[in-house]
């Protein structure tokens, strides 16, 4: 057991990733030697400025932006989402106050919309189907003359479903409505090309693709005007104030660059591990279901519900076996409700409570997956034997 504890199997890459050594390496000099302020005119300031601008060029290339000047670095994916949505809301309030989003967005989008609702904006939540997918026509139907923004995530953080962003962007374009997508989970896992997608605004966060925490990015298509979220100095072309997080920005760009180079192999490896896990688990453990489309899905995401047990208990027991995963239920976050995403695809509360998110990453192996399957089998059994729901079920109550 003590041995097991030491062996850590990290299956929570959707929550955060480690920083790759190659990424950390390029960040390092900006902590202690190249520490100037990019706004300064002297040479070490200038070399920092160049590092930031090179990062911007690299990121623009990584996401297919027309120009580096469309890339704005922020402090997190959450900040990018807040900026895109509040910024558009403020800039366009004369045109209208109606915003369309989906019912499976990340809290960074949902809580921002709720905030705007309190400020007098009108929010429409388009519903996903039981596969966790948005129908672009549903977006089309909700657009009104006073609609100023549509914000729909590219890939979901819990069930990994990938939305038809290009089609939604076309709908928005047809109506002349701004379109923002939260691509925090998509970035590094599936190709992103903003030109091809036709989005106006797109959010990314560094720590989801082996880059650093505390740095995000907002793509703002040239010509799109949104109000700033953070006012102050002239950084980021006057649109996002604050001394640039130079090591963070450099690391962000490097990580995204590596992810792009490596994307095909990454996709293949993760989806194969994921499929192995899925087969093993469903073969061995009855009363189990997968949540969300298996077709339109991030390669590393698996979300499964185990009937009669509760997610946090599963997580804790997995942790004791060295396996780090995440629950579909937002139990730990102070809310008593199960995941809004799982409820949105039609899961009953009690099944939503018994859900597990496994998100595979580049360090995982087939041996780890096999160990996971064994561990889960044992844990689910143990918990079911402790469960009054399972008791009722077996007794046929």
């Amino acid at each position: 057991m003590a041995d097991m504890e030491k062996k850590i199997i990290y299956l929570d890459h959707a929550a955060t990733t480690y920083v790759k050594p190659e990424v950390f390496e390029v960040m390092k000099p900006y902590f202690d030697t190249e520490y100037g302020n990019p706004s300064s005119i002297y040479s070490i300031g200038r070399s920092n400025r160049k590092a930031v601008e090179d990062a911007r060029i690299s990121v623009a290339k990584s996401i297919g932006a027309a120009e580096p000047s469309e890339i704005y670095f922020t402090g997190s994916g959450t900040e990018s989402d807040n900026w895109a949505i509040k910024g558009a809301a403020l800039a366009l309030k004369k045109k209208g106050k109606h915003i369309i989003t989906s019912n499976i967005e990340h809290p960074a989008v949902l809580a921002t919309c709720e905030f705007l609702q309190k400020q007098g904006y009108d929010i429409t939540y388009v519903k996903v189907d039981e596969e966790g997918l948005i129908n672009p026509e549903d977006v089309d139907k909700e657009i009104r003359p006073d609609t100023i923004l549509v914000t729909i995530m590219m890939a979901n953080n819990e069930i990994g479903t990938i939305q038809p962003i290009k089609e939604i962007a076309q709908v928005c374009k047809k109506h002349g409505v701004l379109f923002h997508t939260d691509a925090v989970q998509a970035a590094g896992n599936i190709p992103i090309n903003v030109k091809d997608l036709g989005v106006d605004l797109l959010s990314v966060s560094g720590h989801k693709f082996y880059g650093p925490k505390g740095v995000g990015m907002l793509y703002i298509r040239k010509g799109v005007r949104i109000e700033s979220l953070i006012h102050g100095g002239h950084q980021e072309r006057n649109r996002r104030a604050g001394t640039e997080n130079v090591p963070g920005i450099v690391g962000f760009a490097k990580a995204l660059e590596l992810a792009n180079i490596n994307m095909e192999a990454h996709y293949k490896k993760l989806s194969s591990l994921r499929d192995r896990a899925l087969k093993g688990i469903t073969d061995r453990i009855p009363y189990t279901r997968v949540n969300g489309s298996m077709e339109k899905r991030l390669p590393g995401n698996l979300n499964i519900s185990f009937r009669f047990v509760e997610g946090e208990s599963v997580l804790l027991m997995l942790d004791m076996k060295g396996i780090k995963a995440s629950s579909g239920s937002a139990c730990t976050s102070g809310s008593l409700d199960p995941s809004h995403v799982l409820l949105s695809i039609g899961l009953p509360h009690e099944i939503a409570h018994g859900s597990l998110r496994l998100s595979f990453g580049e360090i995982n192996t087939e041996e780890e997956v096999d160990y996971l399957i064994d561990a889960l089998d044992e844990i689910i059994n143990k918990l079911r034997n402790m469960s009054p729901l399972y008791e009722d079920f077996t007794k046929g109550v």
Binding site: S313, M320, S333, H349, H353
Partner: protein, 154 residues
């Protein structure tokens, strides 16, 4: 997040299971809110001789159930009635604020099982179910409780 005591009771829960022909059985909570506790009591001469539980819920729910059964065994009914959620929580060296409701559930499971015993033995008149955890939202107290818990959290 959890104390060692909580983790111990979660990992090695005491008294898991059922008691055949139990003298009192109480079930509280609701699958919808993610916690159900079912408590079985064996009572002889007004003294709790045995207690067992089954729980669907998070780590804290399992641990509070386990601790509750440990606290119950050997107690008189009067004494058992004084096992409040605070008592359970203290015995576990505390719970995170968001998990306080689990200890409330444990208190209510005890109350429900004792109530069942009393009804079966004609010790109370009506059989109104008093074991509401306030969690299922059915009675509308859910939001109130949530606010309460959040306030404590703050």
């Amino acid at each position: 997040m959890y104390s060692e005591k909580v983790m111990d009771h979660f990992t090695n829960p005491r008294n898991v299971g059922e008691i055949e022909n139990a003298d009192g059985v109480g079930q509280v909570g609701n699958a919808k809110c993610g916690d159900i506790m079912k408590m079985y009591l064996k009572i002889e001469d007004g003294i709790i001789k045995d207690a067992k539980f089954k729980t669907f819920g998070c780590g804290a729910a399992v641990a509070t159930s386990s601790m509750a059964t440990e606290l119950l065994i050997g107690k008189t009914i009067k004494e058992a009635e004084m096992i409040t959620n605070k008592v359970v929580m203290e015995a576990l060296d505390g719970l995170p604020p968001v998990k306080v409701h689990c200890s409330v559930l444990a208190e209510e499971a005890i109350a429900a099982a004792l109530q069942d015993y009393k009804i079966k033995n004609g010790l109370v008149e009506d059989n109104m179910y008093e074991g509401c955890s306030g969690c299922c939202g059915g009675c509308g107290s859910h939001e109130l409780r949530r606010e309460h818990l959040h306030a404590e959290h703050e």
